[in-house]
């Protein structure tokens, strides 16, 4: 009887594992991050000249990892519907470039900090949160990824660093700027920020 129970439970475990396992948020994000770390640690890509190709490689990983359309919509909130088609496309491009510029520098500073993935929480049927920590010699920084299931892929729509949601932080900025300025002016500010005036 005992043996039967054990065999039965193992069978059940094996049956249910692959289904629950396929593409779960934590595995997805961990794979992306490991991919980034591989690029950063690549011994072939040492020195100044390799920095550019490193950035390009990381940029393409980011393209898979993030849902930039969703990110843009969420940061603009109600204002998204007031942007016309061209403005939306330009906004998405500019916002993506700003994020890339802002975070690429920090990513390139990576040395040997440990990245630990703690747990994932399913928020709703297509949303999840993955909790991770970056551990340096002097600090431990909690980083949570909010993810959404889109076309069968889990993609990041918000990063919460030390309890501060990046999307919400940008949203508060866009909201206040758009309260006083036009959409065109906002796009101009963003272009200037990127040195593309």
């Amino acid at each position: 009887m005992k043996k039967l129970t054990i065999i039965l439970s193992i069978t059940i475990f094996l049956i249910f594992q692959p289904r629950a396992h396929a593409g779960v948020p934590l595995d997805t994000i961990q794979a992306h991050i490991n991919h980034v770390l591989d690029v950063l640690r690549d011994p072939v890509l040492k020195g100044e000249s390799a920095t550019k190709s490193k950035k390009e490689k990381i940029g393409s990983i980011a393209a898979d990892m993030f849902d930039f359309n969703g990110l843009s919509k969420r940061t603009l909130g109600k204002n998204w519907s007031k942007f016309n088609k061209e403005q939306r496309i330009e906004f998405t491009d500019l916002y993506r470039a700003i994020l890339e510029k802002a975070y690429m520098g920090r990513i390139m500073e990576y040395t040997d900090e440990k990245i630990v993935f703690d747990k994932e929480t399913i928020l709703s049927k297509n949303k999840a949160e993955v909790q991770s920590r970056i551990i340096t010699k002097s600090v431990e920084i909690p980083i949570y990824y909010r993810m959404i299931l889109k076309n069968g892929e889990w993609q990041v729509y918000d990063i919460i660093i030390e309890g501060i949601s990046m999307t919400r932080n940008y949203r508060s900025q866009f909201k206040e700027i758009l309260a006083k300025k036009s959409h065109e002016e906002l796009l101009k500010i963003m272009r200037e920020k990127l040195g593309k005036a």
Partner: protein, 330 residues
């Protein structure tokens, strides 16, 4: 006499470690978190843990062994159980509207308008925006012209482990603030945790220079202050205030700062100049460990003032809402 002293300290260190290592580490409140944690035998723990005080300085490898990332086998179980938990607790009424098909012309999916984080964080009015912005520029200059250069020189002179120790020392000194506010919030668990931390770190942590409580016993800091206590009792932030030197705050948190001032031992150092000096030293030390953070936040922002204000508000509201950390009772 000296030999006796050394003997006593060696014995007490051994006793401390056996207590610390035998202690069941506190894990997140999800019961299934236990699954993430492979059982480490006491012998393994001991071998992973070098002797004191090196252990106090460098124990990251040890910490990581206690809480490794999920392995493939553990994930499915966790997911299944957490899903159930969350679905029962929270009502995500908008789930059905979440079908995210992005069409450029028609925006049928409006789920991004009322996202989860909007419910968590409430905006705080900023009627003093003009003054606050002025103070933002003042503090910005203060950072780049005074604080950062000082911290950079200090960083070159003082090695990192020593700076971490100085930070630990000041953190330990802030015990009365955390302890009293835990009590005021009726968080008896938290107050007990703080007492344990203070006792362990003041003795075995060599007057707070090391943090064996976190490293070895997994007794984590209960980061409570009077501003949070007022928040727990339902007092809202009022308005946003950006103080010169002290930085971002709100009306409520400013009142909180006054309360905390009286609980901070450094406030009682005489003369006042010495007390100010100590606070400045603390600031320089802590800044030296986080150079680059402010710059990164500022660079990433489109309007740095709004970004910093929002970051402060988010940070504080989450702190008020967050459940007491798992403590000894786990």
């Amino acid at each position: 006499m000296n030999i006796f002293k050394i003997f006593v300290s060696i014995v007490s260190v051994i006793i401390f470690f056996s207590i610390g290592l035998a202690h069941k580490p506190a894990y997140p409140s999800f019961p299934e978190a236990a699954l993430n944690c492979p059982v480490i035998s006491p012998a393994q723990k001991r071998s992973a843990c070098p002797s004191f005080p090196e252990a106090a300085v460098d124990t990251y490898s040890y910490q990581n062994q206690k809480r490794p990332a999920l392995t493939a086998h553990e994930t499915p179980l966790d997911t299944a159980e957490i899903t159930e938990d969350v679905d029962n607790d929270l009502d995500y009424a908008n789930d059905d509207m979440d079908e995210e098909v992005f069409t450029e012309d028609v925006d049928n999916d409006l789920d991004y308008l009322d996202d989860d984080f909007d419910e968590e964080i409430v905006e705080v009015p900023d009627p003093l925006a003009k003054f606050n912005r002025g103070m933002y520029h003042f503090n910005d200059k203060l950072y780049f012209w005074a604080l950062k250069p000082t911290a950079q020189v200090y960083r070159v002179v003082v090695p990192e482990p020593m700076r971490v120790s100085v930070r630990n020392f000041f953190t330990n000194l802030g015990f009365p603030i955390r302890f009293v506010n835990c009590l005021l919030q009726a968080n008896i668990d938290g107050a007990g945790t703080e007492i344990s931390r203070f006792t362990v770190n003041s003795t075995f942590g060599l007057a707070g220079l090391f943090d064996p409580a976190t490293r070895h016993c997994n007794i984590t800091k209960q980061d409570e202050d009077f501003g949070q206590t007022l928040g727990v009792y339902g007092l809202r932030e009022g308005i946003f205030i950006n103080w010169p030197v002290l930085g971002p705050s709100t009306l409520r948190d400013s009142v909180g700062m006054i309360g905390d001032y009286f609980l901070n031992p450094i406030s009682y150092v005489q003369p006042t100049e010495a007390s100010l000096g100590i606070n400045a030293g603390k600031k320089v030390n802590n800044t030296s460990l986080r150079i680059g953070d402010y710059e990164a936040l500022k660079d990433a922002a489109i309007d740095p003032y709004i970004s910093i204000r929002d970051a402060y508000i988010q940070h504080r509201q989450r702190k008020v809402k967050e459940k007491p950390s798992p403590s000894l009772s786990n």
